[in-house]
Assembly symmetry: C2
Homo-oligomer: 152 residues x 2
C-alpha cells in the first residue's frame, strides 16, 4: 500500500484560498502603509521584535529565527534600518563575529506610527469580518499547519 499523494478537492480548495487570501491581505496592508508613506511590513516585523527585546537588543541570527527572513535578507534589511537611524549595531563582547542590534528612539517612534496604520488594517481586513469564536477556530487550524510540526 502506497502513500496517498493526490490532493482531494477539499485540500486544494483550502490551499488555494489560503494562498489567495494571504496574498491579498498582505498586499492591502502594504498598500495602506505606502499610502501613509511608511516603510514596508518587513521593517515592522523587525522593529517589532527589537522593541519586544528591549535594551538588550537581539543578535541578527535571533531575528532570523523569529522572523523567517533569509540571512542575507536580514543582513541587508538591518543595513537599511541602520542607515535610517532606526536601529544601531553594537559590538558584542564575548563573540567577536557577532553584533547586537538595538532599536533606537526613532525606531520606536517609526514602529508606533506603522502600528497605527497596520493595526487598523488588521481590524478592517480580519477583525471586522470574523467573530471572536471564528478567530479562535482559525488560529487553532492554522496552528496545526505550523512548522516544526506540532504533535499530531
Amino acid at each position: 500500500m502506497t502513500e496517498k499523494t493526490n490532493p482531494s478537492p477539499a485540500v486544494i480548495k483550502a490551499w488555494a484560498r489560503l494562498m489567495r487570501v494571504s496574498r491579498q491581505l498582505v498586499e492591502r496592508a502594504e498598500d495602506a502603509l505606502k499610502d501613509s508613506s511608511l516603510p514596508p511590513l518587513a521593517w515592522y516585523d523587525v522593529l517589532h521584535e527589537l522593541a519586544e527585546a528591549g535594551e538588550g537588543g537581539l543578535r541578527p541570527f535571533q531575528l532570523i529565527e523569529r522572523t523567517l527572513f533569509a540571512q542575507y535578507n536580514i543582513s541587508r534589511l538591518l543595513a537599511r534600518l541602520e542607515a535610517d537611524g532606526l536601529v544601531e549595531k553594537l559590538r558584542v563582547a564575548d563573540d567577536g563575529r557577532g553584533q547586537t542590534i538595538r532599536i533606537t528612539g526613532k525606531g520606536r517612534e517609526t514602529r508606533r506610527r506603522m502600528w497605527a496604520v497596520y493595526g487598523r488594517s488588521i481590524v478592517e481586513l480580519v477583525g471586522a469580518r470574523l467573530s471572536n469564536d471564528d478567530l479562535e477556530t482559525l488560529s487553532a487550524l492554522l496552528g496545526r499547519l505550523r512548522y516544526p510540526a506540532a504533535l499530531e
Copy 2:
C-alpha cells in the same frame, strides 16, 4: 462614538498565524519545486489558468484578474514563458492592441510535472494535517476574508 481601530489579541494572533503559516507553506512548496529543478509557483499559476482555458487561450488582462499578479509582472512572466516555449502569443483579430496567450504542448507537460510535485506538497503540508471537516471549516473562514468582500 468612534470606530474601533485597536486590534484585539484574538485578531492579532489570527493575523500573525496567517502571515507566518502562509509564508512557510509557500516557501516549502517553492523549495520542493526547486529540489526537482522545476520552475517557481508563479509559473504554475499561469500555466494552470491557461490549461483550464483550453485552446481559446486567455488575454493577459484576464490572467491578471485571475491570478492577482501585477500587470508588469504578467507581462514579463509571459515573456519568460514564451522564451521557454511553454506558451505562445497570438495576435487577436478584433483588438489590435491585444494578444491571446495559449499554452503549448510543452507547457502542458511542464504543468503536469509541476503538479506532481506541487500536489504532493499540498497533501503533506495541509492534507495530512487536517481532517475533511477541518478543511471545510478553514475554507469557509478564509472565504470570508476574500476581496471583494462577500456579503457579511
